[in-house]
Symmetry: C2
Subunit: 204 residues, 2 copies
């Protein structure tokens, strides 16, 4: 079975666990501490020189980094893959949006406000207004997209929804108010109703 090198509370790692569950690929989980430096040590850097999780490692030693690439690969040929060329383009557009305009604010605010040691948060406190402004801007873009459609790419639930769900559904931990984005709130409920859905904290 492939090994997922991961941190349990990381939304990027949750994307991989949720996709693997929904496409039926069993994973072995190897956990790293959220606050440790394990992923900067030589043993890990030999697997991913960029020093980050998630990292998926196959039995033959091949490794794949970056949550978006991993879930794309796991989903290929499944119902979670966008069905046609335009839907693939839309899915990738939203997945890149998530990594560039959403995760650096929504996920980063969650990490520092909910998981980092309080003393460390103090050093970052001046950044909170920017995280919230840019994170709320990203949530507003999502809300606009969902106002007249159920899913981000094409006309069905796909890895684009998983990519955006991972840090959006727990954005309250970063001080965001999802109730201000009613179309996003309804979409979160729809994602949770999908077959074989697993929540972030319980998904092993």
């Amino acid at each position: 079975m492939p090994v997922l090198h991961q941190m349990q509370m990381s939304g990027n790692c949750y994307k991989v666990r949720l996709t693997a569950k929904q496409v039926g690929v069993p994973l072995v989980l190897r956990d790293y501490p959220v606050l440790g430096i394990e992923t900067r040590k030589p043993e890990f850097l030999a697997r991913n020189p960029n020093g980050r999780v998630p990292l998926l490692e196959w039995e033959d030693g091949r490794t794949l980094a970056e949550s978006g690439a991993i879930i794309w690969h796991l989903a290929e040929g499944s119902a979670l893959a966008p069905a046609d060329s335009w839907s693939r383009a839309e899915a990738l557009s939203w997945m890149f949006f998530e990594q560039y305009s959403h995760e650096p604010y929504v996920a980063v605010a969650r990490f520092w406000l909910a998981y980092a040691p309080k003393a460390e948060l103090e050093k970052k406190r001046h950044l909170i207004p920017e995280w919230h402004a840019k994170g709320n801007a990203a949530l507003a873009v999502m809300d606009g997209r969902l106002r007249d459609r159920d899913w981000f790419a094409g006309d069905r639930y796909s890895i684009a929804d998983i990519a955006l769900f991972a840090y959006t559904h727990c954005a309250d931990e970063g001080g965001f108010d999802i109730a201000s984005f009613p179309a996003v709130a309804r979409w979160i409920a729809r994602v949770r109703e999908q077959p074989r859905h697993i929540p972030l904290s319980e998904s092993r």
Copy 2:
């Protein structure tokens, strides 16, 4: 013909121009000023609520944002598309790496040091050491990848190389020394030798 809403000096927009040229898709270019707020005005936000270029607009009104998604879509079915499932995964992994771990430092340093008004740069000067540290870390990861192979994904030149070339080949404008990364320097030369290559500033 599709319209590329763009800024000429943006590496993200250059990725689209270079890919379109090499796959033979003619584009109409609509230019926006680098320092303007045109992309935050209602007319543009109606096309891309995230307020960013590049944005590709087709004759039928469909629009696609995010450079990675646009070049993936333009390249589908061409020699620039990765040839098999594993190469596609590798290409996406490097394209997400570029947007998350490379562009926010290498491209941002270039923008502030080479294109922003000097008075604005002063407000950002304290960030330069972080841009250089993280940008050099990304360039080191690229150098390691290229030490024993010619291209980032699979065994041929692809959109993964275009995505990384865009801001790497002009990283000197941001204060980076590419000569310190010899495998990257050799790869830059190889990319420039590809058929129908066009340089950033001259590509219209």
